[in-house]
Structures are given as structure tokens and as C-alpha cells.
Amino acid sequence: MNAREEILARLRSARADAVPPPVPRQYRRAGETDPARLAEMLTDRLVDYRAGVHPCAPDALAATVATVLAGVTPLVVPPDLPEDWLTAYPGVVHRDGDPQPLTLADLDGAGAVLTGCAVAIAQTGTIVLDTGAAQGRRALTLVPDHHVCVVRLKQVVATVPEALARLADPTRPLTFVSGPSATSDIELNRVEGVHGPRRLDVILVSADG
């Protein structure tokens, strides 16, 4: 018998009598929906993680991008990042896949990366990236030391269950980011900034225009 068959047989004989129990789901699967309160909670959590939060109106996005990225260059962006986010940014922009995918050295040498996100979770201060619109492949948001992420208020949900339910395709590569990289491995004290981006800035776009 090969390993697969033997393991499955052992597991079957261990639970020959098994009756699957019902799963009680009384926990919260939805929460706050008021946009102002969601924005407030998300901001509170992100600040707690020492991420920068920059609220802005939809028509001020390009100007806010330029302010947050003042003095930072070159900037890397995913292939489909909207052009109009960059109209006020004066630095050099490297667009992934235009014409070639950026190398790790390109990403390592970048001043920052600018992306959007799939969904954000207010209760935990989390940004979810699913490599969908304006997000790019995983290395793009990992190797540069500074990640600037544009979150639209309509993308913000209150709880983890709502966020998972919103994802278009759970089999895409998913990255849940909650603040800059951190460790608690030395005497359990949290230190921000290890291998992932050491700086995270969130531009929170208030309402959609």
C-alpha cells in the first residue's frame, strides 16, 4: 500500500463511527456599516500599528499622493494603476510589466510602491490585497521598504467575516496587511519594521466621486 492509501486507511479506521457535529455560528458575521464610524475605527487601528493615515476627498487624491510621496523616488506601481493618481507626483515612476516585469533589484531599489487594495477591515486595521485591480503581483507590495495604499471608503467593512465574503476569488494569492511588518520576538515587545515594508501609509478616500 502506498503512503496515501495507508494514511487514508488508518484515518478511516480511527473514525469509522464518526458523526460530524453541527457547527454553531452565533458569532458576529457582520458589524458596523456607518461609513464615518468605519473610517474612524480603521484609522484608530492603523495609527495604533504606527501606520500613517491620510484622509482625502476623491478629487484630492492626486494631490495627496504627491504629498505623501514628497521627496520619494523612484516609485513602483502595478501595471493597471490609474494614471490620474499620479498626475501631481513629480518623481520617476516604474510601472511593472511596462515593457518587462520589474526585477527584484528594481523593487529593492524603489523609494516606495503605490497600490490600491481589494477590501479593508476596520475592526482589525487590515488591508487585503488579492492581486486584483491596481494591486499587482505579490513581490511588488513586499520588497519596497515603503508601501502607500489607497483605500476607498466603500471598500471598508467592519469585520473579518465580511471581508472574506467580499473577496471575488479566494484562490488568488491573498495578503492581509495590518500595519508595517513587526516582531514581538525580543521579550515580547512589539518592534515595527522587520522584513516587510517598514513604512505603511494609507490614503483613505472619503467618498466616491
Binding site: 503512503a3 488508518r10 486595521g125 503581483r137 513581490a139 513587526a182 515580547l188
Partner: protein
Amino acid sequence: MSNPLVGNRPFPRAARTALRDAQLRANLRMATGTIRAKRAAVVSEMDDWEDLRAAGAAIKADVLARLPDLLVEFEAAATAAGAVVHWARDAAEACAIVADLVRETGATEVVKVKSMATQEIGLNEALAAVGVEAVETDLAELIVQLADDRPSHILVPAIHYNRTQIRDLFARRMAAVDATALTDDPPALTAAARAHLREKFLTAKVAISGANFAVAQTGTLVVVESEGNGRMCLSLPETLISVVGVEKLVPTFADLEVFLQLLPRSSTGERINPYTSMWTGVTPGDGPQNVHIVLVDNGRSHTLADPVGRQALWCIRCSACLNVCPVYERVGGHAYGSVYPGPIGAILSPQLTRGGDPSLPYASTLCGACYDVCPVKINIPEVLVHLRQTLRHPVAERPAMRALAWVMRDRRRYAAALRAARAGAAPLRGLARRRGGTTVRRLPWPLSAWTAHRDAPLPPAQTFRDWWRASGRPQA
């Protein structure tokens, strides 16, 4: 090779050595105290915490009831997404599969994400034996690896080191570090680790990980981490090999909504961990293009067959039980002799090893704090008591247990024994009273074997039966 699940001496002897280390006890007291407070704070802000625990426990029980079917479902989904699924009956088979996969790539160095499963099978040692160096990239694992030490905690393997000890270690073992300039400030130490590993991340061809969860429905693997070392390993190399215990499954993607809430609050005491990565097979143009998954039994099917003991397989490796355990806080992780220390280790290690160190279920006061904090409601005290009954008794207790069993089988023998014990204990009672208690610390041989690890209670001066007879029956 030594078994990573069994120490080279039984718990009581290892514990005696550990208890003499005052620095270790100070480091542990400090660290577990910190994390207990953090956990309590973030758990208290969740008004549905008990509902989440109930769901978590039920999902895990459901998984174990349907495990073979869910594994087949997982294999089909992962394979369809481009992963190659391997099966390993035991540690040796799992190590051989991984070693072969690494050798096929020609790599002599692999980067590793912190993984209990790979520690459990002794993978780093097995890879070293075939000339492959495994570089641990989690900060605490790196500390332990540089010190040629063993992890002592599931979540924070270097919990037994303080910042000064870590500073000295980095100054000695990191080639590129300026030893004279390095301080023991945690941000400075963290920056040193970043510099040390950066080049390895950017050039590694092969990464090895475990998985916190595996989704049967979609074939997705999940890694929960903090530092970004996981993301580096999971997205930059060409080849990714993940070693996953068969019990890590959850049925559906939506089930992750329970565990992504339970795990970080229980383990690091954070609302959520900084990074969670999920991947399903191969994604063209993004991340590793050779994706392997090694499903490992290694004693799990044996554990599953025990109706009481099987709940140990619900464990999601959060380590909350270690942090609240009065025994763990005093002896540290090494005394347990297994990569799984603390209360969960005391029930998991002896089951995975079919006996292993049978003294481990006694490494507990049965206070129950572990059960209270367990995010999936594993009744650890219940399993501890169960294993004390089913595993071999420690040598010193075997004759005592046999004698007690004989005495207690007969009412007259029992009453006579009680009388004898009362008479024998009379001289000790004055002694105990002077100490302000009703227990004796040391009995003469052969009963000294019993009191070596616990106080013996003195029998009361009057039994209930005697009192009942003396006070007369209650009046109607």
C-alpha cells in the same frame, strides 16, 4: 537522530535542572506576564469570543470526523490549481520527500518560514545530512539557530533569551554586524536581523514552510506571521515546499473567518497579526512556479483513534496554554523534551509518539487555566487525567497504584487501611500543624517516592463515617 518529540530524560529530572536556572525563570516570568496581559485585553473587547471558541471547536471536531474525505478533497483542489501533493506516513518519510525535492532543484541553501511541523519531523537536521543548509528566517528561530539551541516556546522559540543575551549572540555570530556598535535595544537587534537575511531572501531559489490552515474546498494554504519573512519565502523563490500535518484542514474558505480571529488574539495578543498569506497552487507570473505540499501523518492517525485524546489534534498552535501555565512559567519549554512544550505538549507529544515520555501528563497541577484560554476549547485537563490512566505509570507509582487498587476494592480493607493511616499519621500531625498546614512534604521510604514531587495530605483525625456514627442519624 534524536526524536524531536521526546526528550533524553523524563520531565521531572529535566524540570529539576531548569528550576535551578534563575535567569531562565526571570526571563519567562517577564515574558509570559506581558503576553497574558495583552491577550486578556484583546479578548475582552470581543463580545462574541465564547461564540467564536464554540465555532472553532466544532469546526475542528467536524474536520476530524470527516478527515479522510476532506484530505481527498484538498488534494484534488490543490492539484487542479497546479500544486503537487505528497503523503508521508512518518517523520523519516516526510524528510526524505523534502530532501529529494530540494536536491532536484540543485539548491544547497533553503530559506524557511517558522513551522512546527518541520521541527517535529527534524527537517533541518535531515537536510544538513544531505548537504543542504536550512536558514530559519523568523527572528526568534534565527536566534535559536545561531545559538545552536532548541526552541522553548511554540510562538516565541527564543522566549528564554533576554535582549542582552540576544545582543551578545548577534555580535558573535552575524558576520556583517559591527559588534562594538550593536546595542541591546530591540529595534537595533531587529535591524541587524533584517540586514543579515535580506540578501538571502532576494536570492533564495527554494523556500520551505508549514501552514497554519489548509482549506479542503479550495486547496488553499494559509500562513499567519508578523515579520514579513513569511511573505518573502512564500512569494520570491521559484520552488515552495510546504509541510502540513493532516489535521490542519478546515472544510471551507469561509471557516477561516473563525480562526483568523481566534489565532492572533490568543497567540501574540494582537487584534490581528501584521501579515497573513494565502496561496492556492501556482499563479502564473506571481510567486513560486513549483509548489509542493507534503501531508504528514506522523502519529496523528494513532492519536485520532483515541476518543478522549483526539481533541489534542484540534490545536492551532497559538501557545496561549503555555503562557498561562504555572508549570511552564517555572520550568520553561526545554524541560518537556519535545518541540511541543507546555500543557498542549504534555498531551500531544506522548500521543504522537505512542507513549514517548509517559511522565509528561504529570507535568501539570490540573488547575485548568489552559482549558479556559484555549481558543478551540481543548479540554487539556481531561486529556491529562485520561493519559495518566492509559499510559504507563511512572516506576515509583506502579506498586503504590497496585496496592491502592487492592485496598480500595474491598470496604473492610479500605476502612482498616484508613485506621492504619490515621494511627501512622498521628505523630506527623503535630509537625504539620506547626507548619500551619495539613500536609507532609516528605514521607519515609518507600512512600518518599510519592512525596518526591508532591505533598501528601494527612488523613483527617475523624472520617466522615466515624463522624456519622458518633453524631447519630439526623432526626426525622
